[in-house]
Symmetry: C2
Subunit: 184 residues, 2 copies
Amino acid sequence: MTDRRYHHGDLRRALLTAAVEAIGESGPGGLGLRDLARRVGVSHAAPVHHFRDKAGLLTALAAEGFELLARSLAETRDRGGDFIDQGVAYVEFAVSHKAHFEVMFRPDLHHADDPDLTAARERAGALLADGVTDEEDPRVAAVAAWSLVHGFATLWNTGALSREHDEDPAAVGRRVAAFLFRRS
Amino acid sequence: MTDRRYHHGDLRRALLTAAVEAIGESGPGGLGLRDLARRVGVSHAAPVHHFRDKAGLLTALAAEGFELLARSLAETRDRGGDFIDQGVAYVEFAVSHKAHFEVMFRPDLHHADDPDLTAARERAGALLADGVTDEEDPRVAAVAAWSLVHGFATLWNTGALSREHDEDPAAVGRRVAAFLFRRS
DNA sequence: GCCCCAAACTTGTCAACGACTAGATACCGC
DNA sequence: GCGGTATCTAGTCGTTGACAAGTTTGGGGC
């Protein structure tokens, strides 16, 4: 705390990580720019200079989230993973990056038309669609697959079904994802 | 507007419907107790008397939402609908009651352990689980089915996939739900 | 028919927030 | 080592949620 210099060094980065922490504690609604500034140890108006406003901060956070998701999906693909693995990667991302994931799909919280954000979102979306290879109806299959993993991740994160299944979310997610493409 | 008496008559009901309207305009984050009071034409502290605080109001709204959902699911069941119809009913509810649906699955916005809320939630949950009849693995099937329709509804409402499919959400939802229980 | 009490609502206030403005400070290219 | 600019601070405004205390109203007991 003694190294309180005028120039922080990388305030933008510090604010983003502090935001992740704060959201993890009290949700994106409880997030405050002033509280954030206090955590990092700067004045209450410092965040405004890096992100135009509160929504700007969350926009950056959402973009970073899609970035991370895309990276994770690309990794699984390069590792030779099939659709199920992609779905598990999606769920694992959502669970281990709750704050990012929550903000990513909340258009009312961020500037949804931000160029950086839309670019990152489309990148992740393309990877996601590529992961699904269904011969019959590829379009419906892609939407179904995305809906399934997204729904599972959301329900898990909100605590809607954790009471019955308090095992490893990735393991349960795998069984659920496999259910979609079973053959009987 | 001339009938501005001291006792409103049914302020609680009026506040809830006003809240639905306000959330529909600017999301649950943009909702304000004072703004709500202004819409209904009462003092800024009147809402506090009916719902303890902002979260209390949203708790009541969420409970009402689960109530409505349960009613809709029960109706489809009594009409002899199968799982697909139940899924469509779920999606239709989510789309036509955006405000309710949004608050229902946001534990950070309401008092999640409220007795009225949990009762309504469990009622809806039971109906939902009953709708799925799978001989192989009923538990996984139930979670998969719920995840699928919930994910689809969420993604649709947030505008994540409406660009490709701007048809009737119920119709698309039906195709997606049918995909889960196809036999090839 | 009246009185009184509890429920419903109002007015006033406080700390905290987001956004804005103007000013102070320090890094960096020249 | 100088100037310009990005970075950050300090101060302020309107608005919010929550709380406290007072006022009005309807209705049940007599």
